[in-house]
Amino acid sequence: MSGVRRTPLELYVHVPFCIRKCAYCDFVSGPADAEEMAGYVKALLSEIQAAGRMEKVSGYEVVSVFFGGGTPSILKASDVERVLKSIRMVFFMEEGAEITLEANPGTLTPEKLTAYRRAGINRLSLGLQSSDDRELALLGRIHTFDVFLESYRMVRDAGFSNVNVDLMAALPGQTEVSFRKSLEAVAELEPVPPEHVSVYSLIIEEGTPFYAAYHEQAEARAAGEADTGLLPSEEAERNMYYMARSFLKERGYDRYEISNFSRAGYECRHNIGYWTGVSYLGFGISASSYIEGKRFINGEDRKAYVEAMGELEEKRNSGAVLRKVRREEEIVTKDRAMEEFMFLGLRMMCGVSEKRFAERFGVSMEEIYGPVLEKMARDGLMVRDGIRSAWKLTEAGIDVSNYVLADFLL
């Protein structure tokens, strides 16, 4: 049917496999053999089809697909192709939808990349993290900078024209000098530098080998102590962010979100969707969804997931099976939706629009958040953009964003 306006929908596919788990990683991922991977891919296909039967898919149009991990590039190209084919059969897909795959240096070959392209992948996200081999080794990454360079060249040769490179700040042993070298290395990549760069800080997460090794230093840092061991001090960490901001700006990257930078027109659509309230469905273990006013997360147990999806082949009651794996269902009430509008939207540098708030909730932003906005403006943490009638974080506000955002909880 032409002329029908469909609601934008994003899809996320979780690939919980990697060659070796990095020492800082707390995502659901780990090594697996070919048979386990095949079983998981099969389960993914079943879940996609079941979701197609369950959700009111005809009212939606897929605007982006994101293969995240783990290391999605560990999958055979034919598996990626099957998943995308299945998605296309179940969902309406927008012409020119953004289809991203996360890839790790050292897992790519020219053949694989060509096959990814053929399958419809049009954006690649490469986890470099650092150009310093010593820092990479400490992180437990499987690659060196040279391996990355080789992979990057392959990606460009295969014709990918929308590429992201991830960098990390605040790594053990990292200094402002070495971080700047990483930034420079990225900005000078051949034949052309990436269209998109993201910079995240290393967070010492519980349950990772890094936690055992560094959490005391991290706590000392949080307490404002001077001696933080191998971890960069709070000040050094902050300087790295400031450095990323100014350096990348000089090199023509616009910061459109707190930690994402891109050439004009290459903002990551999928990522922006998360901050602006676009609906999304996640497939695979630990994948999050937000659809029809509900948020839920799939369970983390791979075996249970594969087993449950196996039942789909016998049973027709897709709903019952999907409910088995979905956890923490949360109804997004109007209050929660307003909170999210603010605390997610403010990650975007363009801020939150008063007009869109009023359109969506039938009440003015001023009425709900007037006193908070006034206080934040007074403390210099937020500012109103009069031309676009939007509120955004100032640089000082970005520095203490959680402190600011917490005040928007009702």
Binding site: E10, Y12, H14, F27, F66, G68, A169, A170, V199, Y200, S201, L202, I203, R221, A222, G224, E234, E237, R238, Y241, I258, S259, Y274, Y280, G282, S286, A287, S288, S289, Y290, R295, I297, E328, E330, E339, E340, F343, L344, R347, D379, L381, D399, V400, S401, N402, Y403, L405, A406, D407, L409
Partner: protein, 603 residues
């Protein structure tokens, strides 16, 4: 019908925390068949939610059950529960006085602990027959024989035939019941003599008025008897008498010598029915009250403030209601610049304070700010007046003060000999005056000290436990007031004096206290957008300083795969932190900081 005294057993259970007192009580009630298993809450005796969570029993209660023994006879068991903390020592002693015997529960893995010894000696002092029970024998680490030997060696009571039980799994409970019948003596007393009954507890009920829990020592009380409370002189006509079912009151016609039960008489206030007082017949009074009565007076004072100023009246209502049930709680209005309107409240000790605070928060849904607890000082002024100081902020100008006195207690500390050195060191630090040592046997000694009360109300008990690895017990009584070199220590946060944090301290320890308070506050006060100096001062002299650095910048956390709930949880935690803050000047101080600064850990 007057019950046959020989078929009554009045007893209590003595145990260290966690050794299984409440669980054994549950089993006894269950096995004596008064309740079906379905009716059983898991711990019948501890009916206050708070008690259950803390794992301790706060107010003594009683329960009557009926047991058919192996000899074919039915016995009435009155099980009287006792609190287990030094703050409530007096209540414990009154509960014990209501019993004829005690079951001593000892954990088969842990063995005897300090609190066990203190309570056993207290029971033996009251002439109670004590027999041991070895609990938790189903634990892998259980060593019943070692524990039996220990009981015989250290406490010196026969333990070879102690029942070896598991209260949790219900193993060998019958043996305990039989020993209660055989080892605990039946009560004595003449039902025809003038009435003499011991009050061991009371509760306020909105329909019946005060319900007085008592043990009849002599005589008989009936419905309609005009009773007199000998200490207060108050007289009432009894409306209802009865005994204690599990979790309910069961009326009966009379209670006679040897029995345990309750009396109601339309009494409006628990202050008339003090624990330890003697109830007698107004028309035919007994000659002497029972020994041991003491008027309980608050030892510790602190300010209680509603976090939300609008809840001031709610706080007053709640305190009034709690006072109906707790004659030892006292309060009067006060104001603080930092905290607004609140009450200065008096308590038996720090645990009592914490319990009242928690009950106010839980049962009355009040969010409270508590100020540093302190004792009552006597301030002698140059104009010849004497004032009793319960709030440090009211201390007169130093120029007007001639001298000050502080309360001093006589303390007895029981400790195994290996820790004598450590405990003496502790008492020394707390300005204790050594009065002597008595060796109880080879391994244990009783240390006598005189200690200023303000040195023991904060964390003395914790310090005692940690320095003796739990093997020290402690008891004290007020000795009187003594002249002392005292100063007022003020705390300035971001250059503003916070009146609620001021306290009185001995001049010699002021510097150390001030320094530790600043350190503690530095931990408690979250980082703000600006740097905050924290200073301790005596008069205009700054004696310590710390700084809370400006707020840490957030790291650029990845919000991956649309996991918004994780982000929300993080923000909610941050928000929660902000809620419990008290604005002082432009600094937000967490409410718990006002209290925690006084728990300056003994490193």
């Amino acid at each position: 019908m007057a019950a046959d005294q020989s078929k009554i057993r009045n007893f209590c259970i003595i145990a260290h925390i966690d050794h299984g007192k409440s669980t054994l009580a549950d089993r006894i009630i269950e096995k004596t068949g008064l309740l079906t298993s379905r009716e059983m809450q898991s711990q019948v005796l501890d009916n206050m939610e708070l008690e259950r969570e803390r794992g301790i029993t706060i107010k003594s209660q009683a329960v009557r059950t009926v047991y058919r023994a192996e000899d074919g006879e039915e016995y009435i068991f009155n099980l009287i529960d006792t609190p287990g903390h030094v703050d409530f020592n007096y209540e414990v002693s009154r509960s014990l006085a209501a019993c004829d015997g005690a079951v001593l529960v000892v954990d088969a893995a842990q063995g005897i602990e300090a609190q066990t010894m203190a309570n056993v000696y207290l029971a033996l002092d009251h002439g109670l027959e004590v027999f041991p029970v070895i609990n938790k024998i189903d634990l892998p680490s259980a060593e019943p024989q070692r524990v039996i030997d220990e009981i015989e060696d250290i406490i010196g009571i026969e333990a070879q035939d102690a029942p070896q039980i598991s209260a949790k799994s219900g193993i060998n409970i019958e043996e305990v019941l039989e020993q209660i019948v055989k080892k605990i003596p039946a009560p004595s007393g003449d039902p025809e003599a003038p009435l003499q009954a011991l009050i061991f507890d009371s509760v306020y009920d909105s329909y019946k008025g005060v319900i007085v829990f008592c043990r009849i020592k002599e005589g008989t009380v009936k419905k309609g008897t005009r009773i007199r409370f000998m200490a207060t002189g108050a007289e009432f006509e009894t409306v209802e008498i009865g005994y204690f079912g599990a979790g309910q009151f069961i009326p009966c016609d009379e209670l006679s010598a040897g029995m345990v039960g309750y009396v109601t008489a339309s009494i409006k206030n628990v202050r008339d029915t003090r624990v330890g007082d003697t109830v007698t017949d107004a028309e035919r009074p007994c000659a002497e009250p029972l020994p041991g009565y003491k008027k309980v007076t608050p030892m510790v004072y602190c300010g209680l403030y509603p976090a939300d100023g609008a809840k001031y009246n709610d706080l007053r209502d709640a305190l009034e209601k709690l006072q109906l049930n707790d004659a030892s709680l006292q309060f009067e209005p006060e104001t603080s610049i930092a905290l607004g309107f609140g009450y200065r409240c008096g308590f038996l000790g720090l645990l009592h304070l914490e319990i009242i605070q928690e009950r106010l928060e839980r049962e009355y849904n009040l969010d409270l700010v508590t100020t540093a607890p302190g004792v009552v000082y006597k301030v002698y002024k140059t104009n010849g007046e004497m004032m009793e100081l319960t709030n440090p902020s009211n201390l007169p100008d130093p120029a007007e003060i001639e001298y000050m006195e502080e309360p001093v207690v006589k303390a007895e500390i029981m400790v195994t000999t290996e820790f004598i050195g450590a405990i003496m060191g502790l008492c020394q630090e707390r300005r204790g005056v050594y009065m002597g040592t008595e060796y109880m046997e080879d391994t244990r000694a009783l240390l006598r000290y005189e200690l200023p009360l303000n040195e023991i109300i904060y964390d003395f008990f914790d310090a005692l436990k940690s320095r003796s690895r739990g093997y020290a017990s402690f008891d004290y009584e007020l000795k009187g007031y003594e002249k002392s070199e005292l100063v007022k220590l003020d705390i300035l946060i971001n250059k503003e004096q916070v009146d609620a944090l001021s306290f009185i301290v001995h001049a010699d320890t002021a510097y150390e206290r001030g320094r530790r308070m600043c350190e503690k506050l530095k931990e408690e006060i979250p980082r703000h957008l600006f740097e905050i100096p924290i200073q301790a001062a005596i008069g205009n002299r700054i004696i310590a300083r710390e700084t809370v650095k400006a707020m840490r910048k957030d790291v650029l956390a990845k919000c991956y795969g649309g996991d918004i709930s994780r982000k929300r949880k993080l923000l909610e935690k941050q928000k929660e932190g902000k809620k419990r803050m008290r604005q002082v000047g432009n600094v937000e101080i967490p409410q718990k900081a006002f209290m925690s600064v006084l728990k300056l850990d003994d490193k």
